[in-house]
């Protein structure tokens, strides 16, 4: 992929991550205002949307490693371990309209979120992970930077947050609406 295309790709994912964060915050506020009735805003589409977020994150990270040839660092791998299964578990849950899917998905999403938060913290405080950068695989160094603060673990964190909110607020309705 050319550098110009990579820059556009970074920008797309960065904007999507901001949209995800905004969406997650909006959903939480909507839930606080509307109460349990808020579940009807998305209905079963909440699981489909959570799956879509996981799918975009999975494919997005694979494009970074397999097409753009960024070497995933140790913490990136841990986040992958949490995100990749979500793209399968949530799909099955969405197709089967399984209310229980939130209990399978949430532990993965919250674990991934915790790792993302730690990853972001060590990028702001690199000394937490040592005193030097491995050019091929540094967790403390940013691989990309969009808008001055968005890097890959930030994107992953935004995805985990939206998935977590969607799953946490999901309540199965009778007709899926």
């Amino acid at each position: 992929m050319s550098i110009e295309a990579t820059v556009v790709y970074n920008n797309v994912l960065a904007i999507l991550s901001l949209v995800s964060l905004t969406g997650a915050v909006s959903l939480v506020i909507y839930r606080m205002v509307k109460g349990p009735e808020a579940a009807y805003l998305l209905g079963d589409r909440a699981i489909w949307l959570a799956w879509l977020v996981a799918l975009v994150a999975t494919v997005g990270s694979l494009i970074y490693s397999e097409v753009i040839h960024f070497v995933p660092c140790r913490l990136c791998w841990f986040q992958r371990i949490a995100m990749y299964p979500l793209s399968f578990v949530l799909l099955v849950g969405a197709i089967r309209r399984e209310a229980a899917v939130k209990y399978y998905g949430l532990p993965l999403a919250l674990t991934g979120l915790a790792i993302s938060i730690y990853h972001n913290v060590i990028q702001f405080y690199p000394s937490l992970e040592g005193g030097s950068c491995d050019p091929l695989n540094p967790c403390s160094a940013r691989s990309i930077e969009v808008f001055g603060f968005i890097d890959i673990p930030f994107m992953a964190g935004a995805g985990f947050i939206l998935i977590s909110v969607l799953l946490a607020l999901y309540v199965k309705t009778e007709n899926g609406q």
Binding site: I3, E4, T6, V7, V8, Y9, N10, N11, V12, A14, I15, L16, V19, P36, E37, A39, Y40, L41, G43, R45, I68, E98, A99, A100, Q123, P126, S127, G130, G131, S132, C133, D134, P135, P138, S140, A141, R142, S143, I144, E145, V171, K172, T173, E174, N175, Q177
Partner: protein, 218 residues
């Protein structure tokens, strides 16, 4: 497993958008995001060759730095590396009789970003002994990574150390067995390796390395 099901309350007009509208809205939103991303990228278009130099190297490559306390490269002759900075000022790390302290820096490395002002302050305070030269090499330069290009960063930091910009394939970094940044190498006047170390070392470390270089004279 028992599933908790919530009955839908009495319908209110306009409460729910249809799935079709959700998909259409998502597609339009994605289109807007791509348009915005391309617009932003267009504003950032720059020359990708900035930040790299041309390196000529003579001599054998040093082995990769594994353990600074038992570095097998100590005593070996480091390769002679010649290159230039962004203003075409040429420099050569050669056996010219003067001991040298080399600093390898990557623009995207947060440890290098933290160390550069420390080194500069140490130099401003007269920390470098008489008869010891210091050179820096910008390595692992990557257009896609933050804080690019390295010259903008170093100029902004008021960096007064002569700079050799490594080439795109990392000839200088490979020649000195670099495995992490920042990396320091101490050479005697005959280009023999006296010490290699990777990581932030601060003023105390700089004093130690400078002393090793200075003591190699005579």
């Amino acid at each position: 497993m028992t599933q908790r099901t919530q009955k839908k309350p009495p319908a209110k007009s306009g409460r729910n958008l249809s799935t079709l509208w959700w998909i259409l809205g998502g597609a339009v939103g994605l289109g807007l995001i791509v348009f915005l991303a391309i617009s932003i990228a267009g504003e950032e278009a720059v020359d990708d060759s900035i930040g790299f130099g041309e390196i000529t190297m003579e001599g054998d490559l040093l082995p990769a730095l594994a353990d600074p306390l038992n570095d097998v490269a100590v005593g070996m002759i480091a390769p002679t590396v010649s290159g230039a900075d962004w203003d075409d000022n040429s420099y050569s790390i050669s056996p010219d009789g003067t001991p040298k302290l080399l600093v390898f820096l990557a623009h995207w490395c947060p440890h290098c970003q933290a160390e550069v002002p420390v080194v500069q302050q140490w130099l401003d305070d007269g920390g470098l002994p008489e008869g010891v030269d210091i050179y820096s090499l910008t390595v692992a330069t990557d257009r896609l990574r933050p804080n690019w290009p390295p010259q903008d960063w170093l100029v902004e930091e008021g960096w007064t150390v002569p700079v050799i910009m490594d080439d795109e394939i990392g000839t200088a970094a490979a020649g000195y067995g670099m495995v992490g940044t920042p990396m320091y190498v101490v050479l005697d006047g005959d280009n023999n390796v006296l010490q290699r170390i990777s990581g932030e070392i601060g003023v105390a470390g700089l004093e130690t390395l400078a002393q090793i270089a200075a003591e190699s004279v005579g």
